[in-house]
């Protein structure tokens, strides 16, 4: 006597239009971020002038047809520098997010599943979280030469504990689920259990957390560059541009306002994406949408 399984509700068809209508936050944040990434990639094409070219004769010009966002105190085109600056921020943001999530995932799985190392590792994480990330990053950078790679590493370290916490919480809640016991009784061993049963359930919260890490990393990088502890001063980074424009804020506000606005928009885009994903991927909230 075979029970007819198609007595159940037919699967819903996927439609992009409805998907966008139902998740406006994801759509908006995602598109904005995508636009910024495209802008960064196409920087050489979009930039109107050479961002590195110093021409003191043109210094501190207001926005005009030749220099869309004006020039800084060295005569460099603020628009072109800002567009190139997107590269640094996005590279830092995305790589910090990627590395800290990989590391955080590994540690979180280990802590949540193997109780013995949990205590020690979490206390170390608590310690790291107690130190403000910028200070920690500065301390790490002063130990070596400044450079993009070092900046990334220095920001990853204070961001990891947050990811570890999230992953660990998910692992702890899954561990007690009956289907895990069922898998163990069915002969599934630890490695397979972690990879096949536990890991997939951590991905959703992990992706959401990665967007927040990305946003945070971009802000930290800007802060570091602003303080002179980030990427070298000639490399256009939004933080650098703002730092260099600081002295002339009253007479040439565009040198600060433009890169600042771009930074804010990028962080907003990433945060919106994260919020939208979190609402959509959280199984309890998603069903009400």
């Amino acid at each position: 006597m075979a029970i007819l399984v198609d007595d159940l509700a037919p699967p819903r068809r996927f439609s992009l239009v409805t998907a966008i209508r139902r998740n406006p936050t994801i759509a908006f944040g995602g598109l904005l971020l995508a636009a910024l990434i495209v802008m960064a990639i196409l920087a050489p094409v979009i930039a109107t002038n050479d961002p590195f070219k110093i021409a003191p004769v043109n210094r501190l010009r207001p926005p005009s047809e030749r220099w869309w966002f004006g020039t800084d105190q060295f005569g460099r085109d603020v628009f072109s520098r800002t567009v190139y600056g997107a590269r640094v921020s996005l590279i830092v943001g995305l790589s910090v997010a990627a590395f800290s999530c990989l590391l955080g995932l590994a540690l979180g799985l280990a802590c949540g599943y193997f109780r013995r190392i949990d205590g020690l590792v979490m206390r170390v994480m608590d310690g790291l979280m107690a130190i403000p990330s910028i200070l920690l990053a500065i301390a790490l950078i002063t130990l070596t030469r400044p450079g993009l790679g070092i900046v990334i590493v220095a920001i990853v370290i204070p961001e990891v504990p947050r990811v570890v916490r999230v992953v660990r919480a998910v692992v702890l809640s899954i561990r007690s689920q009956p289907y895990i016991e069922s898998a163990i009784a069915g002969g599934t061993r630890n490695t397979k259990l972690l990879i096949r049963h536990v890991l997939p359930n951590t991905l959703a919260p992990l992706i959401v957390q990665s967007t927040y890490v990305c946003a945070s990393a971009m802000l930290i990088e800007a802060g570091l560059s602003f303080l002179g502890a980030g990427v070298p001063p000639e490399v256009p980074s939004w933080g650098n541009i703002i730092a260099q424009g600081r002295t002339f804020f009253q007479i040439a506000p565009w040198t600060i306002l433009i890169p600042g606005t771009f930074l804010a928009i990028t962080v907003l885009a990433v945060n919106l994406l994260g919020d939208g994903l979190r609402d959509r991927l959280d199984p309890r909230l998603a069903r009400r949408l």
């Binding site: 029970i3 007819l4 007595d7 509700a9 819903r12």
Partner: protein
């Protein structure tokens, strides 16, 4: 004797991602003064939604009473304002739920919760309300009620919490008590005590009870009349002895034969007879149901059953069935 509660052609619907769910699809019944009516059915049949509809507790963002009439003591409840409904709930119509732990506020003492209800509906001073709360705890046979007034829900066992719920529900002398699966979450020995208590209280106070459950045993032992629901519709209604003596709807018959029995001697010979199965699955309520809702699973179904919704047939002695093939079912015994 006129009915204290009359439900006529009630339709309650919910909006879901898969479409509109017709949770209650044209249900009518009456509750007489002081009567115990059982509404029985499996999950998804609409029995709980019916109860929530009576008290207008359907969440308004996603659900609605699409049509139908609910009259309580002659008053049309579907037309009342929310303010008027609030004055009614806990006062003239009370409800108790399945899970006492989540139905009681964990941060307030038991005494406060009962007294609050009394103050809100009777307007008496706090002291008097507390005395009434103590009286109620005694009524539900909780030992040492004065001390219990100051205890929190988590300090009480499941059975005691359910007694507290009953005490709270009866604190303002309601005319109707709706009990939604009140003993399902309780252990067997505690369930027996609670059912006993409910019947005893009913004798004392004359409150009419609507008892909603999936358990035919509970229905048999505590109710006077029974309504059987399936897929949002009423399929059979009868006085309890009549229903169990001669169930006429194929679904009711199927249910009774599917239950393992404690009281029948047949299987003690050592063999284990098969339980009668009802083949198939409950229909999906987002799709419009053509004809009889039970037809796809019914051994007596004809083409007419599949095409036209069955009429309510009067089988005498207060027994009604929604079925085209009553005579054949009766003959099949």
């Amino acid at each position: 004797m006129t009915a204290i509660l009359e439900v006529r052609d009630l339709h309650t619907q919910f909006d879901t991602l898969d479409g509109v769910v017709r949770a209650v699809d044209g249900v009518s019944f009456e509750l007489a003064h002081g009567e115990t009516l059982g509404i029985v059915g499996e999950s998804g049949c609409g029995k709980s939604v019916t109860a929530l509809s009576i008290l207008r507790l359907i969440p308004t963002e996603t659900g609605r009473i699409a049509s139908g009439s609910i009259r309580f003591e002659g008053e049309e409840l579907t037309a009342l304002s929310e303010e008027a409904m609030k004055r009614l709930r806990g006062h003239r119509i009370s409800m108790i739920f399945q899970e006492p732990m989540t139905s009681l506020n964990p941060v307030l003492t038991v005494g406060t919760q009962i007294a609050e209800n009394v103050v809100r509906h009777r307007g008496v001073p706090w002291r008097a309300a507390r005395d009434r709360a103590c009286e109620m705890l005694d009524l539900v046979r909780i030992a040492d009620p004065r001390r219990r007034l100051d205890e929190y829900p988590h300090q009480l066992s499941g059975g005691m919490r359910q007694r507290v719920m009953i005490a709270m529900a009866l604190s303002c002398d309601p005319r109707v008590l709706i009990a939604d699966e009140p003993t399902t979450a309780l252990d067997v020995t505690i369930q027996a005590q609670i059912l006993d208590l409910m019947l005893e209280l009913k004798e004392k106070t004359g409150t009419a009870i609507v008892l909603i459950t999936h358990d035919l045993g509970v229905v048999a032992e505590t109710t006077q009349r029974v309504v059987v629901m399936y897929a949002g519709r009423k399929v059979e209604e009868a006085p309890v002895e009549v229903l169990f003596e001669e169930p006429l709807h194929p679904y009711t018959r199927g249910l009774m034969r599917a239950i393992p029995r404690l009281d029948i001697e047949a299987d003690l010979a050592g063999t284990r007879p098969r339980l009668q199965e009802i083949p198939g699955l409950v229909p999906i309520l987002t799709r419009p149901i053509v004809g009889c809702a039970f037809a796809p699973r019914c051994g007596f179904a004809t083409d007419r059953c599949r095409a036209e919704p069955p009429p309510i047939v009067d089988a005498g002695a207060g027994h009604t069935v929604a079925c085209w093939e009553v005579e054949r079912v009766r003959a099949a015994a």
